[in-house]
């Protein structure tokens, strides 16, 4: 009986599987029996130290081994062999470029959404300050602009006096959060937009329109090009010019538009450089501001991709250079020899403050997030193996190409059979491998995985808090409705006997094993959920299909028999379901890996290493795989 431990060094986790492999090796080698009995004892998991495939991994691997030993209750000196995977460094990078911006000139528009505008309806008149409203002639329609520091009682008093004099006050724009208070004290209900921080920059003596929609509705006139044309009596050419204003205001509950001689709202595309894609003997330039679809389409045209360069001075260029530099540091290869083999571009929206806005308007600007991946064949696992031998005082063998061993581990999932494809969804990259009936294994690595999802969630929700984004990604949401009950995202209500902590009261929270954690957003639960699912779909579903298409026979997903999902992200509460749904139309059996029927989607490589060791001692690998498949 030999005590054998398989150690899989991954991008983010190092997994170990400890087992007893039966009987003496000499008789096995002679081929008397096809394989030796494998009796699995325990497994362990720890964070990978350093970049995968580099000497820095030794510490993490040693920790994983010791944890597995103690979990199995065996002394360290009982260990006969440590098996390592042939890990090659994979370095991935993420970058984001905002490609549009909204600029308001001459303060033509106020399009922010105050929580509580006052009154409702549309008012069109000339802008006049509150101080001058006393001098306005009776019968003139005016929009009153109220500066900072004014008390709501006084404002209401002055406006009521103006009404009594016959001045037609049709609307108001205010600095403070007073709109409802003022409207409640007026003789006539007029639309009032408040919380306009830079109210002193509203041009006076100009024709302006103020619109407030009833609660739960959005404005209809100012968000429509012809509505603006009717309001301001515009001709066809002028209407064309104001249409960006209408677009910028759509979806708001309140808005102010001021007609100034040259005022405008522009929706500008920011030039953010180009990507140079090389592949299949040619190279292609694509502008990053063209969006994710244009980039992915260009990548498709030069497939297989051999290298990517970004323009210096841009985020994307910097990220690609950084990925190259890291790989240079890790492997010692010159940067010129390192090739970026895959790029995933994803369209996203980031909240950004509108330039020229008077009320701190925030507009959702288009952005492109890019994940890039570089891989090298130059592994330094030999150094890891030597260091590990010294530290643990036992034999260390590097065995098995990653994809092959992972497939072997995945095949121990009950119900799986050859041909089998795996998708390993990790932190930095998504890997796919296929084992066909002839025992041949093909594998690909594509850029973009869990880290990119976290980044998309973080930027789209405007969290600026990686921990919070990670929590949103990993856990389902709920809304705390009282100290004793929460409503989960599927609508079910859960009651508690002990009161919940005050800091989560009335908040959107993530339901974590450690309890409820507040998500620092103001939006509704539904919005957070939509962002989360959309981010996962755009990364994991897109990548699963992309990677499988590269390994599938003739690129056809229909020819895949079964797909086993592996890796940390296969433990996610919704990603496996989303991937399975996406694969269902191709008639593929898709499910979460369950290594040896007990281990779940983790540890496939570690378990596969042990099995391969026991099996290859007797015969070729392909036989071993077939045997596993049959069992």
């Amino acid at each position: 009986m030999d005590l054998v431990i398989g150690v899989d060094i991954g991008n983010s986790t190092t997994e170990a599987c400890i087992a007893e492999v039966g009987d003496g090796q000499e008789t096995e080698r002679s081929g008397a029996r096809p394989s030796r009995q494998v009796h699995r004892l325990a497994s362990s998991l720890t964070a990978t130290t350093g970049v995968k495939g580099t000497p820095a991994n030794t510490a993490g691997a040693a920790t994983a081994v010791r944890r597995a030993l103690s979990a199995a209750g065996r002394p360290a000196d009982a260990l006969a062999t440590v098996l390592l995977n042939e890990a090659t460094p994979v370095i991935s990078g993420l970058a984001m470029e905002t490609i549009t911006e909204t600029i308001i000139t001459e303060s033509t528009m106020i399009g922010h959404n105050p929580d509580t505008p006052g009154g409702e309806g549309l008012g069109v008149g000339t802008t006049v300050s509150l101080e001058e409203v006393g001098d306005v002639e009776a019968g003139t329609p005016v929009v009153v602009v109220v500066g900072g520091g004014a008390d709501f009682d006084d404002v209401a008093h002055l406006l009521n006096r103006a009404f009594e004099r016959g001045v037609d006050v049709v609307a108001a724009v205010m600095h403070g959060d007073d709109a409802v208070l003022v409207v409640n004290r007026l003789q006539r209900r007029i639309p009032v937009v408040d919380e306009v921080a830079a109210v002193d920059r509203v041009p006076l003596g100009m024709l302006a329109a103020v619109e407030v929609a009833p609660p739960g509705r959005t404005i209809r006139t100012l968000s429509d090009s012809y509505g603006l044309a009717s309001t301001f009596d515009l001709d066809a050419e002028q209407t064309r010019q104001v249409s960006p204003v209408a677009r910028a205001l759509s979806g708001n509950r309140s808005a102010v538009v001021v007609r100034t001689p040259a005022g405008d709202v522009t929706d500008r595309r920011i030039p953010v450089g180009t990507l140079t894609l090389s592949g299949s003997g040619r190279s292609l330039d694509v502008g990053v501001d063209g969006g994710a679809d244009a980039i992915m389409e260009a990548i498709g045209r030069v497939a297989p991709l051999t290298d990517v360069h970004g323009e210096a001075g841009t985020h994307v260029g910097g990220m690609l250079a950084n990925v190259r530099d890291t790989m240079t540091d890790v492997t010692g290869q010159p940067a010129s020899e390192i090739r970026i083999r895959d790029v995933l571009a994803v369209d996203t929206l980031v909240p950004a403050t509108v330039r020229g806005g008077l009320a701190g308007e925030v507009s959702k600007e288009n952005a492109v997030a890019l994940a890039a991946m570089v891989r090298t064949s130059r592994s330094r696992m030999q150094a890891v193996a030597e260091a590990l031998s010294d530290e643990l005082g036992c034999e260390t063998i590097i065995g098995g190409v990653e994809g092959e061993v992972a497939v072997r581990g995945a095949l121990t999932t009950p119900g799986s059979a050859v041909p089998i494809a795996i998708i390993d969804m990790g932190g930095g990259s998504t890997d796919a491998a296929l084992l066909d009936r002839d025992g041949a294994v093909s594998a690909v690595h594509v850029a973009g995985a869990g880290e990119l999802v976290t980044k998309l969630i973080d930027s789209e929700l405007g969290l600026e808090d990686r921990e919070a984004a990670e929590s949103v990604k990993r856990h389902p949401l709920a809304k705390v409705e009282s100290f004793f009950h929460v409503r989960h995202e599927d609508g079910t209500v859960q009651f508690f006997t002990e009161p919940l902590p005050p800091h989560v009261f009335a908040k959107v929270v993530t339901v974590t094993p450690e309890g409820l954690a507040a998500v620092p957003v103001r939006g509704a639960l539904e919005e957070v959920r939509r962002v989360r699912r959309e981010a996962k779909r755009r990364v994991f579903v897109v990548n699963a299909l992309r990677a499988l298409a590269q390994v599938a026979p003739q690129g056809s997903l229909r020819l895949l028999g079964s797909v086993v999902l592996l890796g940390g992200s296969a433990l996610d509460f919704e990603i496996p379901g989303m991937v399975a749904d996406a694969l269902a139309p191709y008639g593929v059996v898709c499910g979460i890996g369950n290594v040896h029927g007990t281990e779940g989607p983790r540890g496939a490589v570690a378990a596969g290493l042990v099995d391969a060791h026991a099996g290859t001692a007797a015969g070729p690998a392909s036989q071993g795989i077939e045997r596993q498949a049959a069992s």
Binding site: V146, G149, A150, D154, E481, F505
Partner: protein
């Protein structure tokens, strides 16, 4: 009076009268906020430790609640000068379970009926740092909690010097407030009458 000048409170004076309208009973409106006042609030005290008139405190709390579309009731507690107890009592009779407790010297807390008495939703312990603007935000947050929304907590100011500078005065004010406790008197609902003296 011009729009850009200081708030009117600084110039024209408003006075507060708390007209008793009956015993403080449990409310039924699910969106109501109870403002629970300490024994000396409004009478005999008329302003906080930093001279914010009580009329202004009440006016801004009510304005914050009104701006957010909520409704409010004001009660006065006589049996205790303990802020947590005052606010928790208010929360228990509030239709929404949300109450704002205010001491005469200005210390304020946002409470909810299901919380332990010494817990809170938001606490504003440094009375010298509370001005009209903060009271407005406290009122607005109370209304939002009552409506089941999740407002951003009012930014709490912190002044290291507040304690040494104001501790003596706060202690004296607390003693005076303590003298106004009437153990035999039940809490009453009051109607705040704010009159403007120009």
């Amino acid at each position: 009076m011009t729009a850009t000048s200081e708030p009117a409170a600084a110039e024209s004076v408003r006075t507060l009268t708390l007209r008793e309208i009956g015993p403080a009973e449990r409310g039924t409106r699910p969106d109501e906020v109870v403002i629970a006042l300490s024994p000396a609030f409004g009478d005999p005290f008329t302003k906080t430790i930093v001279d914010v008139p009580h009329a202004e405190v009440i006016r801004q709390l009510l304005a914050g609640i009104e701006e957010r579309g909520g409704s409010a009731r004001v009660i006065k507690v006589y049996r205790t000068a303990d802020l947590a107890a005052i606010a928790h009592f208010g929360a228990k009779i509030s239709g929404s379970g949300i109450a704002v407790g205010v001491l005469s010297r200005g210390t304020t807390v946002l409470h909810q009926r299901d919380l332990a008495r010494l817990s809170n939703l938001e606490l504003f312990p440094q009375a010298p740092l509370l001005d009209a603007e903060v009271f407005r935000m406290i009122g607005a947050n109370a209304a939002q909690y009552a409506q089941g929304q999740s407002p951003k907590p009012v930014p709490t100011r912190n002044d290291q010097m507040a304690r040494p500078r104001w501790q003596a005065k706060a202690a004296l004010l607390h003693l005076k407030e303590f003298d106004c406790i009437d153990h035999s008197r039940n809490a009453v609902e009051v109607e705040p009458v704010i009159t403007r003296v120009d």
